[in-house]
Assembly symmetry: C2
Homo-oligomer: 488 residues x 2
């Protein structure tokens, strides 16, 4: 037996990993079993001992196998049937121009419409936001101080920056108010960061799958995407990043280490540290999207790339859009050593952010109720994540897999190959249900039988019904088999 050839040979360890996963799936390997020796398996598969070793280390990180002193590796638990990053092998896909605009416009068309069930929108339900509290503060701010009609500085309200810097300490980020810049949401932070470090035609490494607006931003700026496979368990891997840096002239990297949208993956802290060090060493700036970092389900807030960065090489982006008030359009950027450029771009994009909402948010954070509010929100989201998983497995066709995220607001659903998610999108829209088909999340067609579903909405009978309906439509498509796809 030999492994399928990959385009470079660098990613053969992934094939070894898959081989072990297949043995677990078929029952040839069970919990407690000793996995084949490095040398034995290497010989059988025609790969080096170090390749097998790399695969075993990856499986160990995922908690599937464990090393026992002087005895080798043993199966610790069976892998949950989670989506693979793609159907085939998934080496970095390299430089491709991005053209997802038409599909994105089509999908976004239904967003924000109250007559559409919002399964496709990664929002936190208004009932999970402290809307009343912050509205009361905004009202007080507006009534009490006419000066809030005036401009803020380009960098933003000082008190808000101070509050943000304090909060960042929780994620082990050392920053003062001068390191923080207020932006109109995380989207603007990412826009400023990307413009600060790239020029048109540059290669940018980005996870696959990734948030479709990032792809659209690359498309708009004439940047080329080098896609790094993101795994539901563990996200983007350092080895893949390293090989992409070796093979392509990469000018910037975009990562969402905590709860990547759409696959919900979290990069383990050691891998974060490794990647931050690698990128600093190579002098390649990394844009970190941490918009879901506060919505973790674990005991402790996950760390960020920025917390491992002493070189000012990480441009850290986040916002209050998922946790406080999306309509206030408040996010922030820690631009690191690219601060001068980022300020200049902000000044010539829209000068500064609205004043009253900044002041109200600063007051809200200073009051100290935010952490308590977040704890409540996290609990609700975690419960709803489990509920949506259960519904998907109940209603969707056999063979469907779904992620079990440890934070954020979305699950990533892998349906049988025959289910084209764009066809599903159109069928669901006929029923007044909004979906985010997999093709949105990559510059190529590797995710066409995937679907992103949001569990951030309030859990209502309407949502229940919509999930059952979409599941039924997917089963119909699965039974009908492959059909010609709508063209995009």
């Amino acid at each position: 037996m030999t492994l399928p050839e990959t385009d470079s040979g660098i990613f053969r360890y992934m094939a070894v990993e898959k081989h072990i996963l297949r043995l677990l799936e078929s029952g040839e390997l069970r919990v407690g079993d000793r996995v084949p020796s490095l040398r034995g398996l290497g010989g059988r598969l025609g790969v080096s001992v170090s390749t097998v070793n790399q695969a075993y280390l990856e499986l160990e990180k995922q908690g599937i196998i464990e090393a026992r002193p002087k005895s080798g590796f043993f199966v610790r638990r069976t892998p949950i049937k989670r989506p693979a990053p793609s159907r085939g092998e998934a080496p970095p896909r390299g430089p491709a121009t991005v053209a997802r605009g038409a599909l994105i416009r089509e999908v976004l068309d239904g967003m924000g419409r109250r007559d559409i069930v919002p399964l496709g929108v990664a929002l936190t339900d208004p009932s999970l936001l402290p809307a009343k509290q912050i509205a009361r503060l905004l009202s007080k701010v507006a009534a009490g101080d006419e000066r809030v009609t005036g401009y803020e500085g380009v960098q933003g309200n000082l008190e808000l920056r101070r509050q943000i810097a304090w909060r960042l300490a929780e994620a082990d980020i050392e920053a003062g108010p001068d390191d923080v810049m207020i932006t109109s949401g995380a989207m603007e932070a990412l826009y400023l960061a990307l413009r600060s470090v790239t020029r048109p035609g540059d290669n940018v490494a980005i996870p696959a799958p990734t948030y479709y607006c990032f792809l659209q931003l690359l498309e708009n700026f004439g940047l080329r995407a080098v896609e790094l496979p993101s795994y539901p368990e563990g996200g983007v891997r350092p080895a893949d990043l390293r090989s992409a840096l070796d093979r392509y002239d990469i000018k910037a990297v975009i990562l969402t280490p905590n709860f990547n949208n759409p696959d919900g993956s979290m990069i383990p802290d050691e891998a974060k540290a490794e990647m931050a060090a690698l990128l600093a060493e190579r002098g390649v700036p990394v844009i970190e999207d941490d918009v879901y970092g506060d919505l973790h389900f674990g005991e402790r807030r996950p760390r960020c790339l920025r917390s491992y960065d002493a070189a000012g090489n990480v441009l850290h982006c986040s916002s209050f859009s998922k946790t406080l008030a999306p309509g206030y359009r408040l996010g922030y950027l820690l631009p690191g050593r690219h601060a001068a450029k980022a300020f200049e771009i902000k000044a010539t994009t829209n000068v500064c952010c609205a004043t009253p909402t900044q002041v109200a948010a600063a007051l809200y954070l200073a009051q100290g109720g935010f952490e308590r509010h977040l704890r409540k929100t996290r609990g609700v989201l975690e419960r709803q994540a489990r509920m949506i998983e259960e519904r998907v497995l109940r209603h969707f066709p056999d063979g469907t897999r779904v992620t079990r995220p440890t934070g954020g607001t979305v699950v990533w659903v892998q349906m049988p190959d025959a289910v084209n998610s764009i066809a599903l999108f159109y069928a669901a829209r006929e029923l007044g249900i909004g979906l985010a088909p997999g093709n949105l999340f990559s510059s190529c067609d590797q995710f066409k039988h995937f679907l992103r579903l949001s569990y951030g909405n309030a859990w209502t009978p309407r949502i229940e019904q919509a999930l059952a309906d979409v599941g039924r439509l997917a089963r119909e498509l699965a039974e009908a088999g492959d059909r010609p796809e709508p063209a995009f």
Copy 2:
């Protein structure tokens, strides 16, 4: 006598015009005199009759000479000693990369600081804004409707767009709410417009002088500036625009037809119509900045390029930052036929604008007090424009000229050649006074003895003293003569 050679010969009519102005200045020609015949002057200056005719038509437009039937042209009034657009001839300067960033950062550094007298900032004083009224509405909005914590659509709040469309009818612009897009101030409208119609490396025609943030935006996007001379009386001339279009491959034009910042010029309505038609015919989009349009001193609101545009070729940009609440960051763009592109760019820049401020502004406009408020503001600004003119002529060195704008918030001051305005900027900063030196407003050094002064601030003894101080510093520099300039 012959005229100085210009680089192309196309702009020789300007030299003829200057020749006549010099005769008026020296007293050789007086009010009521007949000006030399077309043929006679053409022969003397070695130019064609049509060149002299073009110059006389320009002088007639400015009201300096008038044609009397069958008798030729006569002097109607002596020209006011207003700044010339530059010291030498001023043909379109063509494609130049822009690099004003360092100087701009240095100047902006002092802005927004309360310890600096803001003579350099083109703001409307908070006392001239309906701060109390709008604050009351914002307070009410925030308290009354928690939904304002949620997102608005990309295009912005419908009621606000409706109000804007109604107001635009006053400027003879026919537009419905669907033609309007809400932006974070006019700066963002301009940014969206420019990105919608250009690619890096393109040539963009722009007035000289122009608002420095526009130059910085060109610089940031790698665009090349073709500078069109702007005259304090009449602004950019259609003939210059036409010749620039003939000579260079121009992809977009930026114009501020109403009260160009910094020279306060207004393009006459007939010239607006001519330019709108010319640009539509050539298929070259024009970005119109109308941020001062509502602050006219005349009886009637001046028209806009957009009002002459049926082709969707004018991207009309404006805001409420000078008239309502700069800190609310509310502007708008009429993107014309570039709407789809502009929406996409807005979505990937910052998704949408803050909701509460949009709703409050919509309520304010719906109440109907805005026009009354504007009338009051215009009166105060016109009075202050006259006051600053008087102070400049009193305190500044002999030979200083100052514009008499018919709207907006700034005067443009031409000092004797020996006064380097960057040296003046540094000297004034030592005294805690902020200035906007002429070099900011062009990609080349033609305005280095110019200064933009704002009269939008409340008129206080501190402002009076600052004007006297700056005048004294300028006189000292004039007396000291030319010095080595600080490098930029």
